[in-house]
Symmetry: C2
Subunit: 211 residues, 2 copies
């Protein structure tokens, strides 16, 4: 799998989409699919799909296409979805609540085992089945439980402070929802969700419609 | 602005990031920036930045760089952020609540004027200052108020039904958070937020760290 290290981020960001479509095909009991059919589903060209998947090994067979179950399983491994991750959420507002209670993440191997808030006056409180702890306990909790992923759903102003605690406590991946560019060391995996960027893209295309 | 129609989606998705950085520079009182300095901030190469911005006209001047205020204003116009949009949210769970109450959207011209839920037994209820209405009123509300954008924060199972109501009522843009591929006519702008795709990308890079 040495080839994998050279794969561009653009290709990698397409993999979850392939994985999602393959999951749906599996649910429908479809066992085999050509790159042309995958193209119709995903909106990527057939040659793009073949090229993307060839980065990770030869999955398809000429004249047969792809075995859906096998490709789904392999893509899952490539994405690391055959592993179990422990995650914590910092920021127990609406967004933190939404993320902590979304069942889909647990099904995919991401187990949110703690939620933390700095509003200690009202803590601990119960948030739809999850106990919310005081932010001062975050560092010890991460170390005691070998947490892999730190999720940030705090305000913009508190996000870097939380990131610093995550880094200090040995977390390897940060999933950041706060609208701020965090400063993290190179060996920390940082993935940002930029809701405004998505909304502005929508706005760009609406403008094209004459709005 | 006929040139604009040929611009690729990849370039367009970078514009909100430029806009975000320019907003921050403006706040810091910085009036002028070179493509090299913008490169350090954004992580894109200087030539990429010049190429991206040239798609929309000649903003920079050789030897001077970019005027931050002017470029910010022009990018805002290109993204349609100089306009006011009316939006509604369908789905009044945690995520709907988070979206409806996020002040940053209103500041950027996106005004969420209604929240709808199908859990009519408990409706209308007050959700942090927003009255939540019954889903059966959605269609009339959109028509009466000339709503531009429909946001979907329902479950996967209800998302297409809501999209159909949006389309029937004359909404032009859909911002979808439900993990499902909606079927919409070509003249509807559909922007999806795929939280799982982002999490899987994080997982991919964590795996590279030996997790």
């Amino acid at each position: 799998m040495t080839k994998e290290t050279q794969v561009s981020i653009t290709v990698i960001r397409r993999l979850p989409k392939y994985y999602r479509y393959l999951s749906e095909l599996l649910q429908k009991g479809i066992n085999r699919i050509s790159s042309q059919e995958l193209s119709k589903l995903t909106g990527f060209t057939a040659s793009q799909i073949r090229q993307d998947l060839n980065n990770f090994g030869g999955f398809g067979q000429q004249g047969y296409g792809y075995n859906v179950e096998e490709l789904h399983k392999e893509l899952g491994k490539i994405l690391g979805l055959n592993k179990e991750y422990k995650a914590v959420v910092a920021g127990a507002g609406n967004l933190g609540n939404a993320i902590a209670n979304y069942g889909g993440f647990k099904d995919a191997g991401f187990d949110i085992i703690g939620v933390f808030s700095r509003y200690y006056k009202d803590l601990p409180f119960d948030m739809e089945g999850l106990e919310v702890r005081d932010m001062s306990e975050l560092e010890d909790f991460i170390k005691d439980n070998n947490v892999d992923i730190g999720i940030i759903t705090t305000s913009k102003d508190n996000a870097q402070k939380v990131a610093d605690i995550y880094i200090k406590s040995g977390i390897k991946g940060i999933w950041n929802f706060a609208p701020v560019d965090l400063v993290v060391p190179e060996d920390i995996v940082l993935e940002n969700v930029r809701l405004s960027d998505s909304l502005y893209t929508l706005s760009y295309f609406l403008k094209g419609l004459g709005k």
